[in-house]
């Protein structure tokens, strides 16, 4: 096949186990509220034993974004590594059934499919604890040149910088995309992730990223600025689009010397999982349709509102209608 795709995402292939907990649970387990912490098998087992009942929903940051783009009707692909187990089947089913091209060969290691314990506190905030498992097996061989070349945008998550093979896959995809004249989008994923790789990310963004997504904590961590305003001024002209999300304070988009502020879309918040991922989906859908930066931001805000109004980081089946109702007809 050589059909064009709008966006190919590369990311950790994760199934989320969502569970409601009290703030005390986070304290007891020394968890940093709102952050994503990588955990090993032993911690995963002990955390699961102590947790209440969970709901299993496919997740993964870039995967959520791609699911959102597919739900909006865009042509998409995804690259990510699951194991040959039931959670791997669940992940593969959920993304494929949206029409996303997903052909990454499952890992043959003993490691299980990655899972993230997503703990939702009474304030609807999510704290993530991720066991990467089979995601460690993702490598450059999983990135096929033809697949990347077909996509107008390759979308990468910062989390890929953690497993060494995934980082190589990330760099290969970036190179292939640029060589084919396509664009590279990156989401910084998490402020602690940025802290782990600050210098590398700074260099990468300046030289190889066309579209950058980051939230307030991430951009402050990246720039080491004292305030959001300070971070904004440091990010001017660092990429074609620098898209900064600020939860209920909306988002700010830097594009070719212009600065656009977009308000958040009001909604009842049930679970913030996937807010940034779905903002990126809406924004990239706007870019694919050649909308203005402001329109792209508005689309991002609406998609984020949809995903935080229900449990889980994947959009509901009605995402497109939800967007259309709030934006006017999207064509």
């Amino acid at each position: 096949m050589s059909d064009r795709m709008d966006v190919v995402g590369i990311g950790n292939a994760i199934v989320d186990l969502l569970s409601r907990v009290d703030d005390d649970f986070l304290v007891k387990h020394h968890l940093i509220k709102g952050a994503m912490t990588l955990i090993e098998v032993k911690q995963a087992v002990s955390l699961y034993e102590d947790m209440g009942p969970a709901i299993e929903v496919s997740g993964g940051s870039a995967a959520n974004t791609i699911a959102g783009l597919a739900a909006l009707g865009l042509a998409t692909g995804f690259i990510g590594k699951v194991a040959q187990d039931q959670l791997g089947e669940v992940f593969a089913h959920d993304i494929s059934s949206l029409g996303v091209e997903f052909n990454t060969v499952p890992s043959e290691d003993r490691e299980h499919t990655a899972r993230s314990f997503v703990l939702i506190t009474p304030d609807s905030k999510r704290t993530m604890n991720t066991y990467l498992g089979a995601s460690h097996a993702l490598g450059p061989d999983d990135v096929e040149a033809e697949f990347i070349q077909r996509a107008s945008i390759v979308y990468l998550e910062g989390y890929l910088w953690d497993p060494p093979g995934a980082k190589k896959a990330f760099l290969k995809a970036m190179k292939l995309a640029h060589a084919a004249g396509n664009r590279v989008a990156l989401t910084l994923s998490d402020s602690f992730c940025v802290e782990r790789y600050r210098a590398e990310f700074r260099d990468l963004i300046k030289n190889q990223v066309d579209i950058l997504f980051a939230n307030e904590a991430e951009i402050i961590s990246l720039t080491e600025a004292k305030s959001f305003a300070g971070a904004v001024s440091l990010m001017e002209s660092q990429a074609e689009y620098v898209v900064l999300t600020r939860s209920e304070k909306g988002s700010v988009i830097l594009n070719r010397g212009q600065q656009v502020a977009v308000p958040a879309c009001p909604t009842e918040i049930e679970d913030t999982t996937g807010a940034g991922d779905l903002y990126a989906a809406g924004f990239l859908a706007g870019l694919a349709k050649e909308r203005t930066a402001a329109a792209c931001g508005r689309m991002g805000a609406i998609c984020a509102a949809e995903v935080i109004s229900h449990l889980g980081g994947r959009p509901g089946t009605g995402l497109l209608r939800y967007l259309e109702e709030r934006l006017g007809r999207v064509t």
Copy 2:
């Protein structure tokens, strides 16, 4: 341990895969809306391939009821067979983490843990397609005398009549409970299940069931009456409690010659999965607290309202508070 338990449930140990579909999907797959259909592996694979993304939530009719009772603070146990796979771990985790005693040894067969494809149509009704898998391995050896004897009530689901070993386990548990002077509760599960075993169920209820739960379709199937009123009159004195649920029309309880009508508890309906199961939980919790039939019915109605107000057949963590707010303090 010889601590008393309020209720021990025996049922199929199932993980539900919840997915929203259009009515056309049911038509295309020749599915009977609202019913539970048993499917084999081949059908399970083809149905899953055709379905959209799903959410995985522990289910099983009696298991949902026991989860509800545990959430209400009762001492409970569960007997049901999972496989040694990830969905089996999910089921075991979810029920154990509620404080339910669950020690059934997982099956060593090749069969996977049972799964039910729960298809939710736009009218919020659920249609279930269940692959029983490892549940077929449940047998009388899984029913330990001491475990049953500890429980004031043993709660059984009609679905157990399908796998031959489970039926034997069911009969053994019933005998043990009565020999120990404890009560037996049965839910008829599904009108098609009743149709498959009508004569056996009639005999069982008349002679060995103390508390019967059935919905309108099930009781009409059981009695072959022409109307609900006709079914009610045929069920007089068939068991100590005959509890008949009628969705938004509320419930009717027959108890020692008395007939009590209880209205439904109004709520926004998101997904009807687990409505009957949680009604039974509320009702049995009332019985454990020696409430009147009317009070038990009211508790059942409120618990049913909670579970249909969100996705999945298991109650949320706030079930007890939800009940208390609507009923006045439960002590």
